[in-house]
């Protein structure tokens, strides 16, 4: 390896040109803002989560459409709609919540551009019958979902590239009020440990924000379950 230094010195011109070109290309590349690629609590989101408790109805709507550069973080209108039906009856959101919740996510992935359209409509109905806590919690859940959307990736290991595993992993994750991930595990395996551990890895790579005060009131930590479906695009 000693030869490397000597070599680097002798070839300092091409090497430094190469590195310079690399740096310039990467640095000057027109990328939208200099935000980190990974999921971290953004200002907008934090704002959204903090949801200053003031007057319930009118204040909420403006918050929702707020975030601009990252569609990811836009609060998702529909899930909020769902709870009202169920909420009054039981403390825990039963099926309806679940059924509705993911829909917008998918929509967004497919048609990111359309996202803004639905935004204005929902706010009102949302808040009407909704206990504040459920709204704030729902926002937090949307954050978790959005963060996963962002951190997701198909594994790139040699094994993964050679075998192209597919399947759905259902993962649980437990977050405390400070936003620390206190636990994560597999509920249902995809049938591939490679995908299962990639899913866990994805969850662990996310920095979650602290719970807003009104979310999950009375809970020191909260558990979420999420499904991650890995597939090969067979369109190709």
């Amino acid at each position: 390896m000693a030869g490397l230094w000597e070599w680097l010195y002798r070839n300092r011109d091409p090497v430094s040109y190469g590195m310079a070109v690399a740096m310039i290309l990467l640095a000057l590349w027109p990328r939208p803002a200099l935000q980190p690629a990974h999921v971290q609590p953004s200002m907008e989101l934090m704002a959204m989560l903090e949801e200053p408790s003031p007057p319930k109805e009118k204040e909420t709507p403006p918050k929702i459409p707020e975030p601009q550069p990252r569609p990811v973080l836009r609060p998702l209108p529909q899930p909020v709609e769902a709870p009202p039906a169920a909420q009054p009856v039981e403390a825990l959101p039963p099926k309806p919540v679940v059924q509705e919740a993911p829909a917008p996510v998918v929509q967004r992935v497919v048609e990111p551009v359309r996202a803004p359209a639905p935004v204005p409509a929902p706010p009102k109905p949302v808040v009407q019958e909704q206990p504040k806590s459920a709204v704030v919690s729902a926002h937090y859940e949307q954050y978790v979902l959005a963060a996963l959307e962002k951190a997701k990736r198909y594994p790139t290991s040699r094994e993964a590239r050679l075998t192209h595993p597919q399947g759905v992993v259902r993962v649980w994750l437990e977050i405390n009020r400070d936003g620390q991930l206190t636990g994560v595990g597999v509920v249902d395996s995809s049938g591939s440990n490679l995908l299962d551990s990639e899913a866990l890895h994805t969850v662990r790579s996310i920095s979650f924000p602290a719970f807003p005060e009104q979310a999950y009131v009375g809970q020191s930590l909260h558990r979420f379950v999420v499904g991650l479906k890995y597939e090969i695009n067979s369109d190709h």
Binding site: G18, L26, P36, V225
Partner: protein, 798 residues
């Protein structure tokens, strides 16, 4: 929501919340609902036009995806598809890719690198040569990758001192249907492709399968003849249980090509179109046919007949994988494969002399032309035939702990490699009795088949490997220590034949083994940045040819060898390389890039040289060398329809030893120390820019390859060149019967650049010097660049 730049899509399918206000966190109580699947919309999502993915391993690696493959001409071979990647110096003998080509990475030739298709090794089991035109149809190819510096620890290679290349074929599709594609182009180029998919069948243990057939033909761009290829791919996926999968793939290839004439530099300057002749050599009524006017030939004014310079080849490859997830930690797999290959090549036009002498093997060659005597020298068709039967299997166990993944495995194969050189006859109209050299073979007077060589090598390859991936520091740091114990045993049996050094029966065996450690690490810096590095040791066993040609001074009595001398070539050992690599990657939202800096210490390089211990000129460990350099690649995601890819390669290669040779009969050393590797340019650049809008797509790509030396003494070189290719496509609206009907235009060598490519088929067969007073001296030969070539392809799924 950002869309991932891969063919793979991952959707957050369901998200459910189990509020656990009172009871214990009750995720089990929650329901989830499948709300559908997110598919990535193909082409537009590709990173760097499909020429890269987000890599994150400890090794420099480049990947070409389906999106890029789909834009290329359907006959493109893997070398062409990899050409824009950093580190890769690839050339194709023609524009279509049907004639094959050559590949070098970091100074290592393709026969010094490991090639796999779906994990099974496809290098020749004797000399590790690679024939890219035989492999998977590009329509069925999902991905190609190259690790520039070293082979993967679990890869089944014993002949790779350089990196490895993998081809991964697309499995069957979930939906029933198929694909049809028809290409037409200049030089009577056609390719017809048809694929049928069963779609998923069954519920509890669903399976799916596909089969495809293609026929391709093209004329040579100069001279006479062409390439003719029939190809079948088939695949099956069977999900036995949620945790157990069985997949199988079959590839069959049948090709007959006329060779392209290679030229020396001076020939090219005087007549760049020099080619094989179209004049059928004529048998003479009696006497000697070994004249230039007849079956004898020379490369300058009497080239051989094109119809007698053929490369017929047939091969199939079966690969399979049974993988089972035993529990949440352990996954076991078994991956059996079987390779069969049969073919001949080179210029088969030759002459043989009949004889009736008992002092020759088998009492000499019998009356070939059936004129009643054994005194003629007759024009014959003879070529080196290789038949390989190569079964093998890899077992793997993956053990996943939270921060520790262990991969342990064992690879075993037994390749039976039968190499012969029979001969057959031709008539005066150019008809060959059997161009495959299987029947109507010329015999000796004792009835046995004439052979110019006849030996069987059983190569038993084994490798045991262990790779640990340790994750530390909140997933930021990964360590990957690995070790691989690789061995190959060659059991060689020579049956007396008429070839030089092969005139008596003998057996020999050799075992080459090596413990090959590796250590890799990756570290995630602040978010889009990652650094990585690795040190990996590789080895390449000598080819089986080193066990041939040991016989001298044979005396035959009544056609049987009665006395001879055997001179074993004992001194040759495996070549090894140690690859040091450090790099940096950037994975931004719009752009990805990577930079790799490396050094390869290459020891005991095997090449033809003068071995003073045996006093022979054979494959021999000629010395050490060193390669250093860097590779850069950058790719963007589409912005307003535009996306780009670029690569830069700087290679500083150096021989560190003088070369043992002979000047006349005097042993001498040629001063190669400090010389540059042959066919290894200092600079290479690859770039591709693509615009796609709605149904339209257009892509322009260019490649610059710098000046290359073609002798070890660096006393001959060929100029650098830049070529451009243009690809365009239009996707029609899908109808009820036709899905994604697409019209594609492919133009290769857009500006009709004329240049030469080195004909250094093997890492060991490099011309030493142009000074012919030295053994191994001579004029290197070259493949002439293919002119501009245009083809159109209509394809549709249904």
């Amino acid at each position: 929501m950002k869309i991932e730049p891969r063919r793979f899509s991952l959707s957050l399918l369901t998200f459910s919340l189990a509020c656990a206000g009172l009871a214990s966190p009750g995720w089990a109580a929650s329901d989830t609902t499948d709300v559908g699947t997110v598919h990535i919309a193909g082409e537009g999502d590709s990173l760097g036009n499909g020429l890269m993915i987000e890599e994150d391993g400890a090794k420099a690696k480049s990947t070409v995806t389906k999106a890029a493959i789909d834009k290329s001409r359907p006959t493109a071979n893997p070398f062409q598809l990899l050409n824009l990647q950093p580190g890769v110096n690839a050339s194709s003998y023609d524009a279509t890719g049907l004639f094959g080509g050559n590949l070098r990475v970091r100074g290592f030739n393709s026969d010094q690198m490991g090639f796999t298709i779906n994990g099974a090794p496809v290098n020749d089991s004797g000399n590790f040569a690679v024939y890219p035109q035989e492999y998977t149809d590009s329509e069925n190819l999902c991905e190609l990758f190259v690790t520039q510096g070293s082979v993967d620890t679990d890869a089944p290679h014993v002949g790779a001192s350089g990196g490895n290349v993998g081809l991964v074929s697309c499995g069957p599709k979930d939906e029933r249907g198929g694909k049809f594609s028809q290409s037409l182009g200049e030089l009577s180029f056609t390719k017809t492709f048809l694929r049928l998919d069963t779609g998923l069948i069954g519920k509890d243990s669903p399976y799916k399968a596909f089969v495809s057939y293609s026929k391709s033909k093209v004329d040579k761009f100069k001279g006479y003849g062409g390439a003719d290829r029939d190809h079948v791919d088939a695949g099956m996926d069977w999900k036995l249980t949620r945790d157990t999968d069985l997949t199988a793939n079959l590839l069959y290839n049948h090709a007959v090509n006329n060779n392209l004439f290679t030229v020396t530099k001076s020939q090219w300057l005087t007549n760049p179109d020099v080619e094989y002749s179209n004049v059928v050599p004529q048998h003479l009524a009696s006497g000697n046919e070994n004249t230039n006017a007849s079956f004898g030939y020379n490369y300058t004014d009497h080239p051989a007949y094109y119809g007698y310079s053929l490369n017929p080849f047939e091969n199939y490859l079966f690969t399979s994988r049974l993988q089972s997830r035993i529990n949440d930690k352990l996954t076991l797999s078994a991956e059996p494969y079987y390779w069969y290959g049969y073919g001949t090549g080179g210029t088969e036009q030759s002459t043989l002399s009949e004889s009736g002498s008992g002092s020759k093997l088998g009492n000499g060659i019998s009356d070939i032309n059936k004129n009643g005597n054994t005194t003629d020298t007759v024009g014959v068709y003879t070529g080196s035939v290789t038949e390989t039967n190569r079964p093998g299997i890899t077992f793997k166990a993956n053990y996943d702990l939270e921060n520790n993944k262990i991969l342990a495995g064992y690879w075993f194969e037994r390749a039976r490699h039968h190499q012969t050189k029979p001969a057959t006859t031709m008539d005066n109209n150019g008809n060959i009795a059997d161009l495959w050299l299987k029947s109507n073979l010329i015999t000796l007077n004792n009835g046995q088949t004439y052979e110019g060589r006849d030996y069987m090598t059983i190569s038993t390859g084994q490798s045991a490997f262990l790779l640990d991936t340790i994750t530390l520091a909140n997933d930021r740091l990964q360590f990957m220590p690995g070790i691989r114990y690789t061995s190959i045993k060659r059991d060689f049996t020579n049956t007396a034949s008429m070839g030089g050094g092969l005139g008596a029966n003998y057996e020999a065996d050799r075992t080459y083994r090596k413990l090959l450690p590796s250590l890799g690490a990756t570290y995630k810096l602040s978010d889009p940045w990652q650094v990585y590095g690795n040190v990996t040791k590789n080895m390449r066993a000598p080819s089986n040819f080193v066990l041939s040609g040991w016989v001298s001074s044979v005396t035959y009595t009544n056609g049987v060898p009665s006395a001879f001398t055997l001179t074993p070539n004992n001194s040759i050992k495996e070549e090894t390389s140690t690859n040091y690599e450090a790099g940096m990657r950037y994975s931004g939202q719009q752009v990805n890039g990577s930079f790799a800096l490396y050094q390869v210490d290459f020891k005991n390089r095997i090449a033809q040289g003068f071995n003073p211990q045996t006093n022979t000129y054979t494959d021999y460990n000629v010395g050490d060398s060193r390669v250093m350099g860097f590779e850069l690649q950058v790719g963007s995601k589409p912005v307003n329809g535009w996306s780009v890819f670029g690569s830069a390669t700087y290679t500083d290669s150096k021989l560190l030893s003088d070369f043992p040779s002979l000047k006349g009969s005097t042993q001498t050393m040629l001063a190669t120390t400090g010389k540059i590797f042959p066919d290894t340019p200092k600079w290479m650049f690859g770039a591709s820019a693509q615009y796609s809008s709605g149904p339209y797509l257009a892509a322009l790509s260019g490649k610059y390859v710098g000046k290359r030396y073609t002798t070890l003494m660096n006393d001959e070189s060929i100029d650098g060149y830049t070529t451009f290719d243009f690809d365009a496509g239009y996707e029609f609206k899908s109808s009820r019967f036709l899905k994604k009907p697409t019209l594609r235009l492919n133009v290769t060598n857009l500006f009709d650049k004329k240049y030469l490519n080195a004909n250094s088929g093997s890492g060991s067969n490099i011309t030493v010097t142009t000074d012919t007073s030295y053994k191994g001296g001579g004029s290197p030969t070259y493949y002439v660049s293919a002119p501009r070539f245009t083809s159109v392809t209509f394809s549709t799924e249904f």
